[in-house]
């Protein structure tokens, strides 16, 4: 695969409720920041991929709200409805096709404008599952319990993820929930659906992010500080929860295998310097770490206990604070990519991981991480 560069990134601050901003305002802010970061004008953007979700926005053509704000006027544009990492993947394809030299990918979401439970209930099949009243939290609880029971991962080990990530968020000016908490705090927080407690769960968030992709040729001409996409993979497994073994993540393994194959990575734990993965719930960071090959199956609990995924550890995971610290749906995956870019450029300020040369960004889609997208980046 020819190299694609990320040459500009922009994020808004993630907040519980951005009352003064419309979707378009947030996108304009993120896009403007990305253009500034890349020292580019909107005219130099060849095409645009927006990322939004009709349910979350309450609009059946959710992309319509941001067509002006993302600079799509008189440009080729498309819209991915799924996590931001999939938007980056599609934006890449459009450049690799030879049709465009640069792609702007911009995602937005306002969790504050509706009720998450109703919206995520919408992802359940209307015939067999919708009426049961499942939502993202209760379905993830089913996965958490199955995973933790099968592999002997404890709630305390899971809680450590939350402690680490909220703690890391103190170094991230964009994060919504920087917090200094302990395992005891997490264990004492209100139970939502066993075993997921309030502090095990990501918040409701508003925000937007944008990244600018460029072909190798274009990047060489205009980029100040390009970061290269070395490998990418995406894959979805079965849909009905009962058709899956929720303690396993075969689609993540497949996506990671593809991305690692392209990037020439054979030992991910050794070769990746920093990872931003989708911890919508604390147990997910453990499970996805296994699927990504950072440790063996069932070893996620031991991994967090080892300290190796802390800021000063061998492979810091979620130095930004992760999704637990800010969860604007769909944007969160794009934010993972943006954070990796900052890390590789040595521009991550207080959350900088030393000597970061290879990074991994990860996003999920569908119930209990049914679908995954893995992106490997390097300097």
């Amino acid at each position: 695969m020819e190299s694609i560069a990320i040459i500009g990134v922009g994020q808004t601050k993630y907040e519980r409720m951005k009352k003064g901003d419309t979707f378009a305002d947030m996108i304009f802010e993120a896009v403007s920041k990305a253009l500034n970061d890349a020292r580019m004008t909107i005219q130099e953007i060849d095409n645009v991929v927006t990322v939004s979700n009709d349910f979350w926005d309450g609009r059946t053509i959710s992309s319509m709200a941001v067509m002006d704000a993302c600079g799509a006027f008189e440009k080729n544009v498309s819209t991915v409805e799924g996590d931001g990492t999939f938007g980056v993947l599609y934006g890449m394809m459009r450049i690799l096709s030879g049709s465009f030299g640069t792609t702007l990918v911009a995602a937005h979401s306002k969790g504050s404008e509706s009720k998450a439970s109703l919206i995520t209930n919408g992802m359940f099949d209307p015939i067999y599952q919708r009426a049961l009243g499942l939502d993202a939290v209760t379905s993830s609880a089913l996965q958490a319990r199955q995973y933790m029971q099968k592999y002997g991962v404890s709630e305390e080990q899971s809680a450590r993820v939350s402690v680490k990530n909220h703690g890391n968020a103190r170094n991230n000016p964009y994060a919504q929930l920087p917090m200094d908490i302990s395992v005891k705090d997490v264990m004492a927080s209100r139970m939502l659906a066993d075993p997921i407690k309030l502090l095990d769960a990501s918040p409701i968030s508003d925000g937007a992010a944008a990244v600018i992709l460029a072909s190798e040729e274009r990047a060489k001409k205009i980029a100040q500080k390009p970061v290269w996409i070395k490998g990418v993979g995406h894959c979805a497994e079965a849909y009905f929860l009962g058709d899956r073994d929720l303690a396993e993540c075969p689609s993540l393994e497949a996506a990671a295998k593809k991305a690692y194959g392209m990037a020439g990575i054979t030992n991910p734990f050794q070769e990746i310097d920093v990872a931003e993965i989708y911890d919508a719930f604390s147990y997910m960071e453990l499970l996805w770490s296994e699927g990504l090959g950072f440790c063996g199956r069932g070893q996620g609990g031991k991994l967090i206990e080892s300290g190796k995924t802390q800021m000063r550890g061998q492979l810091p995971i979620n130095p930004s604070g992760g999704v637990l610290s800010a969860h604007p749906v769909l944007v969160a995956g794009l934010a993972r990519v943006a954070e990796c870019v900052l890390q590789l450029r040595q521009e991550a300020g207080a959350r900088q991981v030393e000597k970061a040369k290879t990074a991994l960004a990860h996003g999920i889609n569908g119930p209990c991480g049914q679908s995954h997208c893995v992106i490997v980046l390097s300097k």
Partner: protein, 386 residues
């Protein structure tokens, strides 16, 4: 950088106003199975899937992950794209870009809609901005009616002229076993049909339909191994310019289509579309579009379209047949509609259009429409070219 891409197989359902015998996953599966049969492939040969529909019509969130049993997405790369009425062509372009990128050799693109499952107007109204446009606005028809009025005012085009478009498309549909509406109608029938929003009457307007379409794209090297009749994608363009209805400029013609067509004509080297293109499958959601929008495509000057219609230029047997499939006025499963235009254009090039085949098709054009006066366009050719 980049590979040339061809369409190597297509499949559609037999479109109906309500397919009560199947749920959404099963509807999708019908189209996918037919496309695989057409291409003589199995699901194992598919490297990636892209799917699209308009969420609020079926009320299902994250359709890419929900659909896997029907779409064949189990343990495969799958993603969803959606852009309102243009979704079908957006899906086609996504299928094209997946293959052109070189990352995936054989790509399955699926567009579908089960409009019977919801109140179409209730759902479509949510497309418009809730604070500025939605309170005053009324579904899809009103915007089109306003456009039609402007066109009639500027060029003296009549309701009778528009009716001729419906008559043409409905007549063409009689050759298409997949079409939803299968009866011929007359100009009188159209003029006497109930007024929806002046000057748009019931028979000027497209129906709402349950249906699905699947198209298989393959990159060069792979395409030629799959079929000896590939339809090559030559160029695509998109213009999704407007956000608020009031942003649209009230003059005749579809500016986004004009702009998009100029881009693809330039890429392909077309100067006289009427002469150089052999068949068109256009997303005409209502009759007046069949007049003003073909002017925007450069087939004739502004105000000149009625002449083309009445002279039979766009009928089967004419110089440039438009909508041999019967078009959107005959079948409208919204998320699939744009993809069906592409599938039909490809089928024409591949010589597989049976009774609706236009003879000797070398160049075909397909368009998509939706959102706030947005346009998509794709040109396909028999030769690999470019």
């Amino acid at each position: 950088m980049g590979k040339r891409v061809a369409i190597v197989g297509t499949g559609q359902t037999y479109h109906k106003s309500a397919r009560l015998d199947v749920n959404g996953m099963e509807l999708i599966n019908e189209a996918v199975t037919r496309a695989l049969e057409d291409a003589r492939l199995t699901i194992k040969d598919i490297d990636a899937i892209v799917i699209g529909n308009m969420d609020h019509f079926e009320g299902i969130n994250y359709v890419d992950t929900w659909s896997v049993d029907g779409s064949g997405g189990f343990m495969k790369p799958i993603l969803k794209v959606t852009t309102g009425g243009t979704t079908g062509t957006t899906v086609a372009m996504a299928g094209y870009y997946h293959a052109a990128s070189g990352l995936f050799d054989t790509v399955l693109a699926i567009g579908w809609e089960k409009n019977s499952e919801s109140d179409t107007t209730g759902a479509i109204i949510t497309a418009f901005d809730p604070i500025w446009d939605r309170p005053a606005f009324a579904g899809a028809v009103a915007g089109l009616a306003v456009e039609a009025s402007v066109y009639m005012h500027q060029y003296g085009v009549t309701e009778k002229d528009a009716a001729r478009v419906s008559v043409r498309d409905r007549k063409h549909a009689t050759n298409n076993p997949h079409a939803h509406l299968k009866g011929e109608i007359t100009v009188e029938d159209v003029l006497r049909s109930p007024m929806l929003s002046y000057p748009v009457k019931l028979l000027d307007m497209c129906p709402r339909t349950d249906g699905a379409c699947a198209v298989i794209f393959a990159s060069e090297g792979r395409a030629e191994k799959i079929t000896d009749k590939p339809a090559w994608v030559w160029a695509t363009a998109t213009r999704h310019n407007y956000v608020y209805i009031g942003d649209w400029e009230p003059t005749a013609g579809l500016k986004t289509l004009e702009s998009a067509s100029k881009e693809v004509y330039r890429k392909v080297g077309i100067r006289e579309p009427l002469k150089e293109i052999d068949v068109m499958e256009l997303y005409l959601p209502y009759s007046f579009a069949g007049l003003s929008w073909i002017e925007s495509l450069g087939l004739c000057k502004k105000g000149g379209a009625p002449r083309l219609l009445w002279d039979g230029v766009t009928d089967m047997g004419g110089e440039l047949p438009i909508n041999p499939s019967g078009g959107v006025i005959s079948s409208n499963p919204i998320g699939a509609t744009g993809l069906i235009r592409v599938a039909e254009a490809a089928t024409q090039i591949r010589g597989k259009a049976d009774k609706r085949q236009v003879p000797d098709v070398k160049v075909a054009l397909a368009t998509g429409f939706g959102g706030c006066f947005w346009s998509d366009i794709m040109i396909l050719g028999k030769e690999k070219k470019l």
